[in-house]
């Protein structure tokens, strides 16, 4: 039964191939059945495999489909590795993936490129499964690049608009910077440890490297480079907000639930390596904290509904990084799962809003839509509650664990905790700002829009609502994976601190209520000062990172490309040609055609020879 694991990437791949080879000639209904059906089938297989695996009580299961290549000691295979961690990831990807596919069958109904969309989506699921099931880093890299490619293809799905193409390329290139760092990390690991099989590699690293040794630090730093690229963390986070140019289900699947969390998975997978480099592990926490605060601030200033969600995704992944950094490995994965539920819910809800309001993205052009868009309204309320970690929603449990782990860390722990709590305040604030502005108050446009939510679109929303509320009660079987380094201490914290953690997000929601519903506070008044305006501008632009990179990298590159379009090296050869021509011109002068001149030069030459002969 467990051997069927090879079916997992195969089904979506077959779906992809059949959709590509028929090249859009199939009727939409068939495309929907192939596209969503393949993922549904995969989810069933995954569920079966999961129950079998958990029943068997084994810690891991390895299945080799075939040996990929074998060059000297370098022998990666198409080998799948199943343990608690990849099991959780696999279920998230296929489960949430299936719901989003189902939703898309309705959402994309009017699009002429229906089959192209599902082809890319299926390819994505195949690559993502490859990523989490890989037993060696090369196969993981295959999935890693594969999801990047699909992300590129889907962000630029509506290719007629050059801005979408730009966003797609930006996403691909920025993440590729991270990927390259990761690839170099792989070279380093292989050259030092002689294997890229993850488990063997971790054992070898554990055996060969002391804690804090240079190689461990360097290797984990390079892998971290890959992780921050994929997971849109500082300093490579700039691509994610622009990636919202893609269709909304893509944002839900790729840029919220699955692909962007691949970085978290990578770090969790290589836990041993990061524990060998405590400095880098702490760096992970600080990156997470900085990112979650930065993205939180930025989310408060956006008015594109999807950009707000994008920044909130960056911020939530920041929490996961924080969790990884402080050693709360399972809590980070737990948050990854709950985040997949509620963020997919939010994005799909946003999709419903956008589709119902004729592709309107600006939240300030909506308002009072709770009657018009009831399903979307409930999705947003429940999703935002979970996002803001409202007590006993799914997000509460996971975020709580991360923050408690941060508090338990000695030294900088208290600061990390405080930052995380501050972030939670902003989370409450910006998530309910979105809810209040869109669904409360008076309507500011699209007064008579009808909600578009057929069966295929509403069902996934209801299922995700359920999991966003109750997902916190699920226990994930990752204990055995992380038992190595995780200290199983019950976090004893004072009731005061616990109270703070519960109250702060509520406070955020309250402040947001006072601003946007009761209008007790006025945004206009707040924005009156030039300082506030400057801050707003700064935050709105994502802390000016785009501009910074533009000046540092893009502009110089374009400048270099422009001035050297005709290849300086070619000038070198042109110079040789010119020199030859010049020499030719000089020699030509001596050919005057005058007989006297020739005779004189003969005589002169003779004289010279005689003279030289006499002299020497």
């Amino acid at each position: 039964m467990l051997e069927l694991i090879w079916l997992l990437p195969t089904f979506p791949l077959l779906g992809f191939l059949s959709l590509v080879l028929t090249a859009g000639k199939l009727p939409q209904r068939v495309v929907a059945i192939i596209g969503a059906g393949s993922i549904g089938l995969v989810f069933l297989v995954a569920a079966l495999i999961a129950s079998q695996f958990l029943d068997s009580g084994a810690e891991q299961f390895v299945f080799t489909a075939w040996s990929w290549m074998s060059v000297g000691e370098f022998t990666p295979g198409f080998t799948f590795y199943l343990d608690g961690l990849s099991l959780v990831m696999m279920l998230i990807i296929t489960g949430v993936g299936f719901l989003i596919h189902l939703y898309s069958t309705g959402f994309m109904l009017d699009d002429p490129s229906y089959s192209r969309f599902f082809a890319y989506m299926n390819l994505f699921v195949a690559s993502m499964l490859m990523l989490v099931l890989a037993d060696n880093l090369v196969l993981l890299y295959l999935g890693w690049e594969g999801v990047g490619l699909c992300s590129y293809l889907l962000i630029g799905f509506w290719y007629q608009k050059p801005a979408n193409g730009y966003a797609a390329r930006k996403a691909f290139v920025v993440t590729r910077v991270g990927d390259t760092s990761m690839a170099i990390g792989l070279f380093l690991l292989f050259s030092q440890l002689g294997t890229l099989n993850i488990q063997d590699m971790l054992h070898a690293a554990d055996a060969q490297w002391a804690i804090g040794s240079n190689y461990a630090v360097l290797a984990s730093l390079l892998l971290l480079g890959g992780a921050v690229g994929k997971s849109a963390q500082l300093p490579l986070q700039t691509w994610l907000p622009d990636a919202m140019a893609g269709p909304t289900p893509i944002s839900a699947l790729i840029h919220a639930a699955t692909m962007v969390t691949a970085g978290v998975y990578l770090i969790a997978r290589n836990q041993v390596l990061f524990e060998l480099a405590p400095d880098i592990q702490l760096l992970v926490a600080w990156i997470g904290l900085a990112t979650l605060l930065m993205a939180g601030f930025t989310a408060m200033t956006q008015h594109d509904i999807k950009r707000i969600l994008a920044y909130s995704t960056i911020s939530q992944i920041g929490y996961m990084f924080l969790g990884l950094g402080v050693g709360a490995w399972s809590a980070a994965i737990f948050h990854l799962m709950t985040h997949a539920f509620f963020k997919a819910l939010l994005f799909l809800g946003a999709g419903t809003v956008i589709l119902s309001l004729h592709h309107e993205h600006d939240i300030f052009k909506m308002g009072g839509k709770r009657k018009q868009l009831p399903v979307a309204f409930y999705s947003f309320v429940i999703g935002s509650l979970a996002l803001a970690a409202f007590p006993f929603s799914s997000g509460y449990f996971s975020k709580d664990e991360i923050l408690l782990a941060a508090l338990a860390l000695e030294g900088p722990g208290i600061w990390l905790w405080a930052g995380g709590v501050l972030g939670a305040f902003f989370t409450g604030l910006y998530s309910f700002r979105l809810v209040f502005v869109v669904f409360f108050g008076e309507s500011r446009g699209h007064h008579d829009a009808q909600e578009v939510a057929g069966f295929s679109m509403a069902t996934p929303l209801f299922i995700l609502m359920f999991f966003s509320i109750f997902g916190g009660w699920i226990t994930i079987p990752v204990e055995s994976v992380f038992s190595h380094g995780e200290a199983h201490v019950e976090h004893h914290v004072s009731a005061l601190l616990h109270g703070i953690m519960i109250v702060v997000p509520l406070l955020g929601i309250g402040v947001s209520y006072l601003f946007y519903v009761s209008k007790t506070f006025s945004v206009e008044k707040l924005m009156a000062s030039s300082l506030a305006q400057g801050l707003h501008k700064f935050w709105f632009s994502g802390w000016g990172m785009d501009r910074l990179y533009d000046t540092l990298f893009v502009k110089p590159f374009l400048w270099l490309a422009r001035i050297n379009r005709n290849d300086l090296v070619d000038w070198l050869y042109a110079l040789i040609v010119e020199l030859t021509r010049a020499a030719h011109g000089l020699v030509v002068r001596s050919q005057t055609g005058s007989l006297h001149w020739y005779a004189l030069s003969v005589a002169g030459g003779l004289l010279l020879l005689v003279f030289l002969g006499v002299l020497l």
């Binding site: 050919q591 055609g593 006297h596 005589a603």
Partner: protein, 103 residues
């Protein structure tokens, strides 16, 4: 022993003739005169051979002179032929005009 002309005189005469010929080649513009000057130069070198041969009492120099004579005859034949062709085509014997083969 009869009084002979000293070799220095003979060689000096040959040298003077040679230089005269050379000056003629370099300065004359009419190609016929250039050809004649060339003949003078050839004969000057021939004279030098003769003088040297009589000094050493050796026949080689005279043989060389015969060679030079033949050469000069051939040269004049070809040269005059070319000059006639040239004159027919360009209607001039001025070598300064005939400088098309430059560059």
């Amino acid at each position: 022993m009869p009084q002979t002309i000293p070799i220095e005189h003979g060689l000096m005469l040959a040298g003077i003739l040679f230089c005269l010929g050379l000056i003629g080649v370099l300065t004359r513009r009419n190609i016929v005169f250039v050809l004649m000057s060339l003949e003078v130069m050839l004969n000057a070198s021939g004279l030098a051979f003769i003088v040297a041969a009589s000094r050493w009492g050796h026949a080689d120099g005279q043989i060389m002179f015969l060679m030079i004579l033949t050469l000069a005859a051939a040269e004049v034949a070809v040269g005059l032929g070319l000059i006639i062709q040239m004159y027919r085509r360009f209607h001039t014997t001025d070598i300064n005009v005939l400088s098309q083969m430059k560059g």
